[in-house]
């Protein structure tokens, strides 16, 4: 077990090195000059030259790359070319907002998907099953950026029951400030007993989380349905039924436990998709997370931010996948990690 984890982590480092190399090469061929971005539009040639010197752009690319990697080991992700702020600190400050959104969206999506999938598998080819299958294909096919706007229109504008954008109401933020400890507003508000803020934070979360939940709902409902239908045809299910075990117990204890495995693997994939989905969704809801930060950086060719985000997302992908494999082994004693 331990050797397995160590080997996977070693492989992860290799993958991240490869990822950093590919992205680094990409940022080198970006047509704009980082030094020009650094000094702004009205700079003199001397200023541009000074910026080139400062950013190390006069060195050959392999020197720049090894310097960058060296910086990584010291936790230094470089400085944003556009805002001149350190990328690492900026990402860390924005990460909790994104993670809170992703966590809520994923949790809602997976639970709803699993429940829908089970109910559909109980009566395959019934009307409910057909509707669920349609919804599960639809959830995956939905353009997130468009769905987000439609939700805003319906619930924010027409019905007027949910806030349009942001993480918290501006007035409430002044009168009932949330003292940020973990950066997760829900937890912080709950811990400090700030009920007014908690309610507001919760209301602000609903629409963006619902947008992100569509994909995991679709993926998990489809998978759980297919797997449950397969498992429910097994002999041991018939045996359990013959012994007079209650239907609900057959479902949850005997069938679902055997069908849930692929969902664990899938949740890692969904998590990555959701993470990237925040790039599209956060700017629509003015959510102050890494998604809106990245979308902005890509449009303005802020190479150090693009590099930093790519590495962050790639490392999260590696960690999620490893966590999923370990979780699968815990859940299913038949799987041996070698």
């Amino acid at each position: 077990m331990r050797t397995y984890i160590l080997r996977r982590l070693g492989l992860a480092v290799l993958i991240l090195l490869g990822a950093s190399f590919v992205t680094f090469l990409l940022t080198r061929i970006i047509p704009s000059d980082p030094a020009m971005l650094w000094v702004g539009r009205f700079a003199t040639p001397q200023q541009i030259e000074a910026a080139r010197e400062r950013l190390g752009l006069n060195h050959p690319w392999y020197v720049q790359y090894t310097r960058y990697i060296g910086g990584l080991f010291r936790g230094d992700l470089g400085v944003s070319v556009r805002t001149h702020k350190p990328v690492g600190r900026e990402l860390l400050a924005r990460l909790p907002a994104s993670l809170e959104l992703i966590a809520v969206g994923m949790a809602v999506g997976l639970i709803a998907g699993i429940v829908l999938g089970c109910l559909a598998a109980a009566r395959p080819h019934s009307l409910f099953d057909q509707v669920t299958r349609f919804l599960s294909v639809g959830g995956v096919a939905l353009p997130q950026f468009w769905f987000a706007m439609i939700l805003q229109l319906i619930f924010g504008r027409i019905l007027g029951i949910l806030p349009l954008a942001g993480r918290m109401d501006l007035r409430l933020e002044l009168s009932y400030p949330v003292h940020s400890v973990s950066g997760f507003y829900l937890i912080d508000a709950l811990m400090s007993g700030n009920w007014v803020a908690l309610q507001d934070v919760f209301l602000h979360l609903i629409l963006p989380a619902a947008t992100l939940a569509a994909y995991p709902i679709g993926m998990s409902a489809r998978l759980v349905r297919a797997k449950m239908i397969e498992v429910l045809n097994e002999d041991y299910i018939r045996t359990a039924r013959a012994f007079g075990v209650h239907d609900l117990r057959v479902f949850t204890r005997h069938a679902l436990r055997n069908a849930i495995g692929p969902v664990v693997t899938l949740s890692a994939i969904s998590l990555v998709y959701t993470l990237v989905g925040t790039f599209l969704v956060e700017s629509i809801f003015a959510w102050p997370g890494i998604g809106s930060y990245t979308a902005q950086a890509i449009l303005s060719n802020d190479v150090s931010v693009i590099l930093g985000v790519t590495l962050l997302v790639a490392s999260m992908t590696v960690v999620f996948n490893l966590a999923a494999d370990l979780g699968l082994a815990l859940l299913d004693p038949r799987i041996r990690l070698e």
Binding site: L26, H125, R133, P143, F145, M149
Partner: protein, 284 residues
């Protein structure tokens, strides 16, 4: 053959998806004749007509430049169809060739190809596509190239898996016995036999490819104005969206409709070809 058609007709999702695809292809093919204001999709503007709500003359209303949204959406169907299909063909060419090579020839070449594939698969594809379009410069063509670069690895892996299974089959053995060259065996004997699963996956993916390309356009990294690309149309209507809902709603709806149709067909085909799912269905 008739059994297959009958079986397909019993699957309502497949039928709905196929109907959607037929509508999509017909609209895309006849787009020049369907558009009531064909000039609008080529960049003509009528500021005096800006932001009219949907009516008899302007079915989907007009946008901020006074262009007829219905014409733009219809013109966008052809762009999406061409972008989706040609990107898919590109992905297939790269993925199949590399997958065949890795599976059939093996050795260090196979190792190298598969490690590169792993590297690409460890990235979320939209993120990598964003970085590539940022590097190449924003345009629809570059967005398509970026999507192709990020998408081929899954086909490479899929093809290699199929080829590894087929390589030891008798017909390959006999082809080799009568002296067929490696290239001939690869392309004439092995390739056609691994086509079914790849085709099904492709059906599911063409929709998602269109969606990804549109997402890039939405972020400003794909098609540039005045191209009537759906993702771009959704962005351009964003600023007036809450007061003039039709400018973004209809292009997005069209995009959803098309992606959904492809997914339904792919899903339906997969079920049709998977004997396990069929057995479960018969039990009831």
């Amino acid at each position: 053959m008739r059994i297959w058609i009958r079986r397909a007709a019993r699957n309502p999702l497949l039928v709905a998806g196929a109907a959607g695809l037929v509508i999509f292809v017909v609209v895309a093919a006849l787009s020049d004749w369907i558009q009531p204001f064909p000039k609008d999709s080529q960049g003509a503007t009528h500021i005096e007509n800006a932001l009219r709500s949907p009516s008899g003359t302007h079915l989907f209303g007009t946008d901020v430049l006074g262009r007829d949204v219905f014409s733009l959406v219809v013109a966008g169907s052809r762009i999406s169809l061409v972008a989706g299909v040609s990107t898919a063909v590109g992905i297939l060419c790269i993925g199949l060739t590399l997958g065949l090579t890795a599976g059939f020839i093996g050795g260090w070449l196979s190792e190298l190809i598969m490690r590169i594939t792993d590297l690409f698969l460890s990235f979320p594809s939209l993120l990598l596509a964003m970085a590539i379009t940022a590097a190449l410069g924003p345009s629809l063509r570059n967005a398509m190239i970026a999507v192709a670069i990020t998408w081929w690895p899954s086909y490479c892996r899929l093809t290699r898996g199929e080829v590894l299974g087929l390589r030891e089959k008798e017909f390959v053995e006999s082809a080799r016995a009568i002296g067929a060259s490696t290239g001939r065996i690869m392309f004439r004997h092995v390739l056609p036999n691994c086509f079914a699963p790849i085709f099904v996956t492709m059906m599911l993916d063409v929709g998602l490819i269109i969606l990804t390309t549109s997402s890039l356009s939405f972020l400003g990294l794909g098609a540039q104005p005045p191209t009537p690309e759906w993702g771009l149309l959704v962005t351009t209507g964003r600023t007036q969206f809450l007061t003039h809902w039709w400018v973004t709603t209809f292009p997005g709806l069209a995009l959803f409709f098309v992606v959904l149709s492809f997914s339904l067909v792919g899903e339906g085909l997969r079920e049709l070809l998977d004997p396990k799912m069929r057995k479960a269905g018969k039990g009831k």
